[in-house]
Symmetry: D2
Subunit: 149 residues, 4 copies
């Protein structure tokens, strides 16, 4: 008893919902493979928003841009038009310079994992030089990692 | 006789070639309707380039941006994956403030008209205020209209 | 009193909400003009869904496809990254062969109309021949027009 | 001496050229990260075409579809609007079931490597079951690997 880390205390992974658009399908009748990366973007933006950080404000007020330096995806099952999709997003690692997100993309009906992905980013300033994320933001991002260990 | 403007003397409409990408199709097996507008963008950029104006330089050096204010398209036949496509582009009208382009989108094989479109644009400055295109550029754009009458 | 058609009795135009994706912006810092047509697609799919018709089922079970034959848009104000957007969609006209939708695209904050658009469609069968929408579906679509007059 | 396979005899990596579209940029002023995967698609389609295989015909006549099961990209430098881009594509590995491509994405001016990527695919039949690529196609794909070792 008194477990300091009961499962209930853990923040769930952040979940973003979307519905597959016709524009996102291709003539194989499934979602075109590059579009999963658009969904990952939605996932990380909403994760960041859920932490009280608005990515748009980081760009406009802090002059910080999150440039993608690596991305990857494994496709397990095809996503189809009109399906409801959940993007689970997690901060996998973060420093003042770097953030890594991991993603699990699921369909709601049937309940299945469709894909797993990862992206790695670095912070840039307005002049496209490497920049450091201020501590107050870093703390917020890191808190989600501690919470999930 | 001795017409100063024989048909043969007319500059042909500007033609841009492209090949349909898989990403541009949807699950009906044809090109998604919004993508014709991407092709029109390619057509007008290449038309402008063919006149010795680089749209990118207008943005970077003149601080002029061409904002779309109207667009339209009539779809006659579907475009399909891997087809070679020709976008014919014409300056239909232009002033210091406004440019209108018209487009005819054809497949090469079979030789057919697939769609016809139009876009209307206004010039903006960096602060997003209406701007005037300098005379030297306007003259170039207008010359293409005179030539085709 | 007892007006058979009080404004309150009218079904509101159908509204679909979305948030502007980073992928939808371009380097002018606003939404690329072709993407408004993707939003119109979301609007009409959701309108049709709100009437109890699932467009996906029309494709799969009835073998009916809604091919776009005309589209147009007037852009009044730019849409920006991360804005919440409402797409109002209306059936403007419909027969067994043809459906026309009109759209008004608004931002929530500030509350402004950003664009107005229209699309015209014809029904096709699996062999891409013109098809007739069965009465039971047509009645549903037409009911939304009567309701709004 | 008299090596039957001098470097000069090697087929160069397959190169596909394209020009960055405005639609492909985002508000950071560079190409949106998912669009590199669209360029990889162009690269592998053109590589396959250069070998005398038309991917479109594989779909239509052989009933074979190349489903992506993994993709990845490392972004080294941003690609910008209107740049000329070269996609170098190589068959990294192939069996009857699987094909792996690797890509190097370069800008022409300045001459720089912008990104490196990889995709892994499996062959499916029309019913979405794993399928085997006929020998005559496999031989062609494998010949490009032998040639480059």
């Amino acid at each position: 008893m008194d477990s300091p880390q009961t499962p209930d205390a853990l923040p769930p992974r952040h979940e973003t919902r979307l519905r597959v658009r016709y524009a996102e399908t291709d003539q194989m009748g499934v979602v075109y493979y590059a579009n999963y990366y658009v969904w990952m973007e939605l996932g990380r933006v909403e994760l960041v928003r859920s932490l009280g950080m608005i990515y748009k404000d980081l760009e406009e007020h802090e002059g910080l841009f999150l440039a993608v330096i690596e991305s990857s995806c494994r496709y397990l099952r095809p996503a189809r038009y009109d399906q409801e999709i959940i993007v689970e997003t997690e901060v996998a690692n973060t420093t003042h310079r770097i953030v890594e997100f991991t993603y699990r993309i699921r369909s709601v009906n049937p309940e299945q994992v469709l894909a797993e992905g990862a992206t790695k980013h670095m912070w840039l300033d307005r002049a496209w030089r490497p920049a450091k994320l201020p501590d107050r933001y870093l703390d917020v991002l890191q808190s989600t990692i501690k919470a999930s260990t």
